[in-house]
């Protein structure tokens, strides 16, 4: 008898599980954990949106929609993008509604990559980019962003990694996990490098509503000459506290959206219908909810930043998303070691920076999508822990 052969494709076998998933398994075993580990809002979806969902169900609107998504929703998305990033996207052929921005990442990559194409990814960043690139047949090329640059992407770093195989750049700002943003002048600088080259920019703007210190989110699609080569990804999860509704969208030049719809129609058919109807309500009437949430996040952001600095952890000031990314070098521990020990000794869960890119080693990701009360309790425990473990 021959040895049992695995049915699993080699490409998938070679993919590691996300470091966050591994850490989740450990944290989940322990009772009474205070967590700063999640990547989703603690606010409720605005009631107007839920009300619309109930009404949608009552009306039995529980059938498929067109592949690209409800026309009315695409119209609202088009208006929203005009309002927020001042870009014109036709609801007819330049917008697709997806199952979260996550699907957007996947089908955008599949739409543009040929086997062996290289994709630049700034890290630390969200866990899905690399595996999605590999599954789409591409080759991920990591660019390490540095705390000295406030984790922003610089043109020099791009030039260093560009080859004639480079097909796309993922631009994940406001950034998970660092909280970094790219301001207009930063984008102008990288546009200089990208403009003349045949490189598609996949701009993941899921945290676009969450920027602080009077910094409005700027999309690279707004920069001269970049609209034509940019795929904007966004969604409802973070801005409207709708993670479980699984709804996002992509906006791009018509030929790219057309290709993305081709993939989407075969693998997904359409995004969840009830979520789509509800999202119309979110865009129409929930702007005030966003302002309220942003204000509350901003307060927590200040409390947490002060907390880390007071306990002697170096932490750059994040201006976007809802994460802080302090350095734990004063303890001399690795990220994994720090997080595991913190979990066992103080029952606080934070995410090892290394789970979000090798260069995240030496950092931890702490989310402030928690009440001030919980944040203060967690900070107290982390402070005690750091004190006990300082080199």
């Amino acid at each position: 008898m021959t040895e049992k052969k695995s049915f699993i494709a080699e490409k998938i076998q070679a993919l590691p599980y996300s470091g966050i998933r591994k850490f989740f398994d450990i944290a989940n075993e322990i009772e009474g954990v205070i967590s700063l580990g999640v990547g989703e809002p603690d606010f409720d979806t605005p009631w107007a949106v839920k009300e619309r969902a109930i009404y949608t169900l009552e009306k039995c609107r529980t059938v498929y929609t067109s592949n690209a998504g409800l026309l009315e929703l695409r119209k609202e998305i088009s208006k929203y993008l005009k309002r927020k990033i001042n870009c014109d996207y036709s609801y007819n052929n330049q917008i697709i509604v997806t199952v979260g921005a996550s699907e957007g990442i996947d089908i955008a990559l599949r739409a543009v990559l040929n086997p062996g194409d290289e994709v630049l990814i700034p890290e630390p960043s969200f866990v899905s980019y690399k595996p999605c690139i590999i599954m789409a047949g591409g080759i991920p090329v990591v660019i390490t962003t540095k705390v000295e640059d406030n984790f922003r992407l610089t043109p020099e770093e791009i030039l260093e990694k560009i080859t004639d195989k480079t097909k796309a750049l993922i631009l994940p700002y406001p950034n998970n996990p660092t909280g970094a943003i790219m301001e207009r002048e930063d984008l102008e600088k990288i546009a200089e490098v990208l403009r003349e080259r045949d490189i598609v920019v996949i701009s993941d703007e899921i945290y676009s509503e969450l920027t602080y210190g009077n910094k409005r989110h700027v999309s690279i699609a707004e920069i001269d000459g970049m609209y034509e080569k940019t795929i904007v990804l966004n969604g409802f999860s973070k801005s409207f506290a709708m993670t479980g509704w699984r709804l996002g969208y992509a906006a791009a030049p018509a030929d790219i959206i057309s290709a993305m719809i081709k993939i989407h129609q075969y693998i997904i058919m359409c995004a969840p219908t009830v979520s789509q109807y509800s999202a119309i309500e979110a865009l129409k009437s929930c702007n005030e909810s966003i302002d309220k949430m942003r204000k509350e996040y901003d307060r927590r952001r200040r409390v947490m930043l002060k907390g880390f600095r007071d306990m002697g952890l170096e932490c750059f000031e994040p201006l976007g998303a809802f994460y802080q990314f302090p350095s734990i070098s004063v303890t001399g521990m690795s990220s994994d070691e720090f997080c595991e020990k913190l979990l066992y000794e103080e029952k606080v869960a934070v995410v090892p920076g290394s789970a979000l890119g090798e260069c995240g080693e030496g950092f931890i990701r702490c989310s402030y999508a928690y009440s001030i009360k919980d944040i203060n309790i967690a900070l107290e425990k982390i402070e005690r822990f750091v004190k006990n473990h300082k080199k």
Binding site: F23, F24, V33, G37, V38, E40, D42, V303, V351
Partner: protein, 161 residues
């Protein structure tokens, strides 16, 4: 900064100046000064607590009374409103647009106490023309707070990307 401080205090009057300072990224003294000024200017009028008395043994009735009055020369509605507001039983007085003039909200131990207040004290005021009294049967939401709300835990996974 004033507006932020007011919002925070309106939401939680027990929050300390230190906590406010951290949340707004300001100095404690600066915040304390601002609060004193707001108190002095009568912007902050009182620090009260929202209590759901229905969950206690205390017996009480809340009534909302629509009052029609004759406005008085030179003083409009203010004079009569002032006379009404001074009664301790009266919790709130608002001047209204529409079918009647003043809304008076009052609390008493029981219906009898409220009716005797209305017949003996309120209706007998010179400029009061008529009253219509509504009793509150149940309070669902007060001052922006849902009173009988299930305390729900955090449904989120402990760690997620």
């Amino acid at each position: 900064m004033e507006k932020d401080i007011l919002e925070l205090l309106e939401n939680d009057s027990r929050i300390s100046a230190g906590q406010i300072a951290d949340m707004l990224g300001k100095g404690v003294e600066e915040v304390e000064e601002c609060i004193s000024k707001l108190e002095k200017d009568n912007v902050i009028c009182a620090y009260s607590t929202l209590i759901n008395w229905d969950n206690t043994e205390r017996e009480y009735v809340t009534a909302l009374i629509e009052v029609k009055v004759t406005p008085q020369r030179d003083q409009g509605f203010d004079k009569i409103a002032q006379r009404i507001q001074n009664f301790e039983e009266v919790k709130a007085v608002y001047l209204m647009s529409g079918a009647y003039d003043l809304t008076v909200i009052m609390e008493g131990k029981n219906i009898k106490e409220i009716s005797s207040f209305i017949s003996a004290k309120l209706s007998t005021l010179d400029s009061v023309l008529s009253t219509a009294t509504h009793f509150v049967l149940k309070k669902y939401k007060d001052h922006g707070v849902i009173l009988e709300q299930e305390k729900k835990g955090d449904e989120r996974m402990i760690v997620s990307p």
